[in-house]
Subunit: 485 residues, 4 copies
């Protein structure tokens, strides 16, 4: 199967049968019918259908270099600015299905894998076989339209090996054995978003230091999600319910996060990309331009999300009749500034793109790392603006079922507004509530805050990777000291 | 029954049987066993028990001037600074049960009613009977320990009578008839918090303007919650579940908000306080010093809540081992500044209290209106700080039931920390999650933002009521112009 | 004289001899030798020299359509994106002389006049002669390289004619007579920046309302700065001194602001553009796309300025050895975000440019109005960051003369750093001081805050002119209500 | 001379004749007639006069325990809450002369010296003679009303001895010799505010580490400002001019900052308080409660300053006629919140005061350290609010001399407002300009930002000194875990 449709996606996930636990019980039966996964899988299914539709296939695919079959365009290594534009348009098309609420829309991991594979040359130094494995795995995923998740963060308590032993805390994930079959992995990873609704899992931890020459914590590999020894533990589901009237967002876009336990998992050699080489592991994220390539995907998602928030806010203002209030205009202007800033950074990133050492047409790093610092700060403010404009209409909201009850006339009468009937008004309030008050909305806010690490990490990445800063420093020196430095 | 205990409170509410709808169904059977009200009522019951306990009764009651029986101290009209201190200590004692999470802890409405009654002289001008009714009603509530809720806000669409008619929108609440029995009320009110778990409801709307001499929108009265013609519609319950492990806050402190419909409700004359006199109605809030007296109750609640947040944050920092990180210290310092500011304003309000025209010892208006502007701004920031410090530990949290499952060993091992075992660690995370991510937490944030109106309203109240500002203006004039003005 | 050089600029201003008052005395003698104007005029002179230099002339000029002589490129009406790029490059070249500190670099007014003239069609409706006058005046300024200033704001007290009469306040500027020669103007204008160092003055007030059919407050015209009846009153000069060591900025870039009094000034008919038609006057700013065309000039200036601030901050960090401090990196990251945002908006504005009804290639309004809301907010923060990083080195700074005094050895020894000798270190401190502490810096901050009006005004302009917002609103409606609206 | 008057103060300073350099020249002749010091000394003189006035002497003095003569009340070690109140009232009385603009009003150093002396017991451990010296010096200053300045910060480049040697940078201040006469000091200190206009200088550096047992950088002593070997270098004077019309603040309150060079300064043994004992030196600041005692003085100064800012803002709003603008009210409300917060913290600090180990009645640490974190953040915002409300009236301001010029009628007419004549209006603008735009105002802002160290330092001091935090942490644990911890 080259590019898959929604039915194929669903079937594969349902057949996958990973070991999944939720609220103290093991999840059994088809995931696509489980309350916690149903809506998300339906949305994702519609995305895979879309890419196979006649109207979209040419815009959303390209011929596989191996087979000639159409494969997902987000797997394409961009070599020209035209490629970048095509990738952007494809990914934007998908946002018409998820409006930016899915941080793990499949194009994200497709892009990540493309970035790693393009930089597989880095692995050659330590082990050419690993480089080959990675390229091979990329081709496999591309040509089979594999839905992928990834993990790289470990529980805080297990990040420093020495302390773990001292306090009898869990050790960080590590290679506990190597044998003919492959490497054997033991450990726990945090926050595998959509781990359960993906075909495979890519594991690539930030390796804690080790005194050994071969660092047992330094590795990277990929296996199917249902591989022996892997167990997923879900957090509480934030799906409010199946009603898209009551829960317009969580009934469609709730991406489950999981803890993943690896208990003596045997990873076959041909799926190993890094093994023991901490130096290569630590350079790989930066040198593969992972943050830049995925940054181009993320900014598109964030534009879609911000447009959705702006649209929501404009509807709230209409209902409240506050379109002339200076304090409301001030807040909408903030939202517009955020949106136009993202759009401009997206344009600039493409316009100033240049070829990197791996032959990729790389979007501008300054623009995209700027976006990665900017969005985690501005997203919570956008949600705050919804609270400030929505006020009490975010709290006192009827339920869809109230409109079928005996007292429905009371509600139909008292909740109507100049522009909307009572049901529409309530639907809008429920949307604003899901965005800014509900657990689904709360998780979205936390997720955006920490998407690429905490503030110190993203600031550092921007500051240390900033290109051109030296020239401004020198300009000021020239201004002050002329030639006499 | 003078001061009641928890059992009496519960029995009375259960017997009350108001008309309540929730998620399309009428609520039947005892409220104290209903999932949405159970935890809250248990907490409230423990508060009423506390005031009757031997160890507390003398600190939490005073003898009724009518009967000599002990009645709740929050009904006491303060005449001295000692009274203020006694009231403060009583209300603080109750926060040991609700930690500031209950905006409608009974002392709030007890205080409000006391303030109104003390100012009943204002009503004498238009109608001495109404003044008498109000004093009488206050005495009745005090001597029977009536649990009260109140409403004053109406749906936005019905605030301007002319527009309502033009667009066929619901008219604002109004007196539709007057007869021998009393006045007849038609209309809808927003956001009656704890309406369903109170004995009676006090109705006192902000009256829209009218061209009639007797403004039909200007009225005030109180009736039992189960009075004929009254219907309550609940919002979705934010009780996550009964487990106090999973939902330490919402299983105990979730105060339901309701829409209240009045359909030809006949209010007996002896329960009417204002009828048609828009002038008196509009002055009553300010002139009764409602915002100052209740402000003294609120600041105590907010101190308790902020102490709880600070304690939570300190525990999170311990778990994360970040007590030396400058960026963490900066944030905790913000929380400390907020807490010490509130505590100082509370002290100042009492220290600068003075007698008002109603014979009350009135806490300092400058200090308490300052707090009413300050807390709605700072509370969301405190919650943001929990998100910033909690980070991913707010998302990937197991459930109590996971600790009873087959995979419990995996969790027990991987979630433990230097200071806490896995369960304690998870409990702390669930608390932080309820505060900063869940719908319960989201509603608390919106509630604090708009407690006494939006920012423009509370700013105005502070600015226009500010005492002493003229002297600073004059001081600068003297400095600049000397005597030559 | 087509395009002029620095000598010609200086000679013309010196010969102009306007009526100028400063600190209670009339300014006499050549302005270019006066302490308050000397440095600015030298900088401006170097800019005019630059455009005539062999290396630059082709990039900075184009042939006059009338004479074929080279004229300043900032006068060019852009008709293609190439024109926009050429204009941008020309204006950026000039920033190498003023680093963005001159809000009235000549390209600003050249651009403004171009925008007005391109839209002269608007004036045809009321009076074709006025349209002709405006085009003619534009051609005259372009072909003679006239340095222009402009005024449009009046003293606050004189904005509402009725109130002025009631309190005997100054009336707003008005046409007091019309005769054969022209119109006669009486009134006062605020804040003519560089009025004294320009050849001519363009007057185009925001007209207060009038009950008369011909509104006497609605007019627009241009006259030479030394025209009879015009008097300029300067504010205090913020030139710290002539030493570019002590005052690297104010010794070069201090643009004087003036109050301008018009006392029975007779404006010849051929210099009148609007006379009495308040409707045309009020539409002209928006419809001529004044804010968009000048917005493209301003964003270039602001980029240059922000680069200069970033360079300064990077030098301060080097001196302090704080390049690894998280709290410093956080602040520099903010500056980088600001700079990259501006650069991206500039790129987007050009990329999304489109032809307007006047035949101009108009940069994207969304992007440039976004910048006009953004910069007034972020500039003060950038200056604050200089204070936060500079700390005490902004206060305790020696003077150039101290390095020639008897105690110079003490200073040379104690003020040196790892990277800079004592003098260089002091120069850097003086620069940071001028930016963030001095009156020159303070005026720059206030200027940026209010460049295109206060926050309410620029927010309104963005909100009401925002293109595309409807589609986001509709998208949310489609999402919520499907086709059933 | 016990408590001195203004004439005595002036005479003593004029006779002192320290070695002072300003702008490359040595300052000669009486300081009280020098443009840079005149206004400040006149203000300070009026303060010393005030304390000797009949109406004030009893409120501003107490009898010296040694002589019985009246001495300044700010020297009093408080032993009761009444003492604290008396001290507060005395210091507040002095703010009627300086309105909080003098960071080195004499009560600041009087209080500091009192705090040190009260804690002289700390010095007993290492050397009883030093303890005696300190008590003796305190008594001397008190009984002779010595005006004192102090230094403790050194140039950044000289803070780390090892690096200094590596890069040939200036070494930190140190004891270079000890002999019969005393200790010999070599080094440079930053930012001795009012060093030149004080009688003596107290030197107490933060000692860099040393490998020697007796750390040569650890010392404390006091000497007269004109002592052999001491040289003061002034920064540029920010006195705008002598006109109090033009420069209402800087003509009166400009406190000069200086660099102080010590070149083989011999400090007599009886003026040495610490010599080589780094341990004692490092504990002395905290253990003497320096930050708490001076914190009580500072909060009074900051209240006076904030009242002055609020008064200024209220006058600006009157002139602008904006008292009903929501966006203005929002900003004034911020100022009121700041002022009431400070006032409440002052009340709380006194109310919760308690006896410390030195027998002092110590104001509450939580409240005063909170103020020390709060004010550096809020002061810049208050100044920003002046910019936002003042807008263009902060830029285009005439000069006093313009009102005597030929064009004065133009100004008198055009600058008048409903409430103020033109001169009063201009005076108000000049005041707002000095506060928010001028170098005097800029230096005040930087000074407030860093009064007690940068944000990290003051946050740390609050966080680590916070009393009671443990109980909140425990309360949350009890809530979560009950007794099962």
């Amino acid at each position: 199967m080259p590019m898959k449709n929604g039915g194929q996606y669903t079937e594969r996930i349902n057949n996958n049968m990973a070991h999944v636990w939720l609220s103290g019980e093991q999840v059994k039966g088809p995931l696509s019918e489980h309350r916690a996964f149903k809506g998300l899988m339906a949305t994702q299914s519609s995305m895979y259908d879309m890419q196979c539709e006649q109207a979209w296939i040419s815009k959303m695919s390209y011929p596989s270099p191996l087979t000639g079959d159409p494969v997902g365009l987000s797997f394409l290594q961009p070599k020209t600015k035209k490629d970048l534009a095509a990738r952007r348009e494809m990914m934007q098309a998908w946002t018409s299905k998820h409006y930016g609420f899915m941080g793990r829309s499949p194009d994200y991991m497709n892009t990540a894998l493309m970035a790693y594979s393009a930089a597989s040359g880095l692995l050659e130094e330590s082990n050419p076989q690993f480089a080959f494995n990675l390229q091979n795995y990329y081709a496999y995923c591309r040509d089979h339209d594999i839905t992928l998740s990834h993990v790289f963060v470990q529980p805080r308590a297990s990040r420093i090996p020495n302390i773990c032993q001292m306090f009898d805390l869990p050790e960080p994930a590590r290679i506990v054995d190597k044998n003919n079959e492959g490497i054997v992995i033991q450990g726990t990873f945090l926050l595998d978003t959509q781990g359960v609704t993906s075909d495979e899992i890519l594991v690539f931890p930030v390796a804690p230091p080790s005194e050994l020459e071969e660092n047992p914590h330094a590795f990277a590999f990929a296996v199917p999600s249902n591989w022996p020894g892997i167990t997923f533990l879900c957090r509480e589901s934030f799906v409010g319910g199946e009603s898209s009237f009551n829960y317009p967002l969580s009934s469609r876009f709730e991406e489950m996060d999981t803890l993943v336990f690896f208990d003596h998992v045997v990873v076959p050699w041909d799926r190993v990309f890094i093994c023991g080489d901490a130096h290569v592991a630590s350079r790989f994220f930066e040198d593969s331009h992972f943050y830049i390539h995925t940054g181009a995907q993320i900014i598109g998602k964030n534009i879609a999300k911000t447009e959705f928030l702006l649209g929501t806010i404009e509807n709230l203002i209409d209902v409240a009749g506050m379109e002339n209030h200076a304090q409301v205009i001030e807040k909408v202007a903030e939202v517009i500034v955020a949106l136009e800033t993202l759009k401009a950074l997206q344009i600039a990133a493409e316009k100033k793109a240049s070829r990197d050492r791996w032959g990729s047409m790389l979007p501008d790093q300054n623009a995209l790392l700027t976006a990665s610092v900017y969005y985690p700060k501005i997203y919570p403010r956008l949600i705050e603006i919804i609270q400030l404009i929505g006020a009490s209409t975010l709290i006192m909201i009827p339920d869809e079922r109230d409109f079928q009850s005996e007292i429905k006339e009371l509600i139909l009468d008292s909740m109507k507004t100049v522009h909307l009937n009572a049901q529409q008004n309530v639907q809008l309030s429920r949307l604003a509530w899901e965005l800014s008050v509900s657990a689904f909305g709360g998780r979205q806010t936390v997720y955006e805050r920490f998407f690429f690490g905490n503030a110190a990490i993203v600031n550092n990445r921007l500051y240390n990777g900033y290109q051109g800063g030296e020239s401004f420093k020198q300009r000021v020196k020239d201004f002050l000291y002329g030639g006499n430095e």
